[in-house]
């Protein structure tokens, strides 16, 4: 067998293994969602009094169950999305020269109303000079900004501020997302970009621990880096560096 044939066969095997993995994920997600949907409907019927009026303690407990189930449904959705992204990593990225300032502007706009509702100021400090177009996968990079801005809002409180800025250096473009929110304990920082990792001070805030893992995965595909600086109670700054 020639080297070319060997390579082609192992590629075929990889594609088959990938398809099998993808099918397994779809089936598992379908089964999980079916059980979670049943639980959701039953709890909602109980909350609506379909099986008789609840006292306030019963209502409160069932509400908690319902909310916990909703978090699980979100988690299943995110796991599915993540698994698909991993399955298709390397083939699903389409790099084109893009106006990254415009992309950030669009993403900030998506979150204006949410931050306003929470009483948080979300500010994009647009650069005075033009930023050169940069080769990125626009939609994947949008996910990066969405995750970081969403986190900044989630872990900030009324009257906090979020500043987003961008600067062009000789070889790189650096984007920073800085918030004045609750910050991240120092011990959590080295683990921050792992799968299912949540900060030790975030137990009361819903989340799946997949957001920053996704951010890192997308940036890795762009040969980009991300750096975090944080002081508990004073806020966090994420800095992304993308090579031109």
């Amino acid at each position: 067998m020639t080297e070319n044939h060997k390579e082609s066969r192992s590629l075929e095997e990889l594609v088959q293994a990938n398809e099998l993995k993808s099918n397994l994920i779809s089936i598992s997600a379908h089964q999980l969602r079916t059980s979670l949907a049943a639980l959701k409907w039953i709890l909602k019927m109980l909350l609506d009094g379909d099986a008789g009026k609840l006292n306030s303690e019963q209502e409160n407990l069932i509400k908690k169950g319902y909310e916990s189930n909703e978090r699980m449904i979100t988690l299943v959705g995110e796991m599915l999305e993540l698994a698909h992204r991993e399955t298709t990593a390397g083939v699903a990225y389409h790099f084109e020269p893009e106006n990254i300032v415009e992309l950030i502007d669009e993403t900030v706009f998506e979150f204006i109303s949410e931050s306003y509702k929470k009483g948080i100021e979300l500010i994009f400090l647009k650069p005075d000079t033009l930023i050169s177009p940069i080769k990125i996968d626009r939609e994947k990079m949008r996910v990066v900004f969405e995750n970081l801005i969403e986190n900044a809002i989630k872990y900030s409180s009324r009257e906090d501020k979020i500043f987003i800025s961008i600067k062009e250096e000789e070889n790189d473009i650096v984007i920073s997302i800085k918030d004045t929110g609750m910050g991240i304990p120092e011990k959590d920082i080295p683990l921050l970009f792992g799968k299912f990792v949540r900060g030790s001070n975030t137990a009361s805030i819903p989340g799946t621990g997949l957001g920053l893992y996704t951010v890192k995965t997308v940036l890795d595909q762009h040969n980009g880096t991300i750096h975090v600086e944080s002081t508990p109670e004073n806020g966090t700054t994420f800095s992304i560096t993308l090579s031109k």
Binding site: R33, A38, L80
Partner: protein, 124 residues
Amino acid sequence: MQKKVIIVEDDSFLQGLAVSKLQKEGYEVSSASNSDELFKILETVKPDIFLMDLVFPGLGGFGSIKKIKENLVLSQIPMIIFSNLAEDKDFAQAEALGVPANNFMVKSNFTLEELVERIKTLVK
């Protein structure tokens, strides 16, 4: 006059919950657990709306939708896909068969009340 719903759902527990909710809302409900039962029911019942799961024995959801859409009369009846398959390829396949994305409801993301609201907008 009572509006008629045909629900195809092979999970008997979910089917029972949905049927009971729809009956409480005043619908006449016929239920099937597979495509044979579905097409048997269609010999005698002309529904006002279909409520289709996608994973069930026989032709499955997409196979059954295709067969329904090939029938001139049945193809005019509104349809909601109510499934836990929720990948882009599933939405695309539904759209290709004439079921728009806003009639594709992922079960775990909606309550039965929301399902009833959707049915009300499609069946007047």
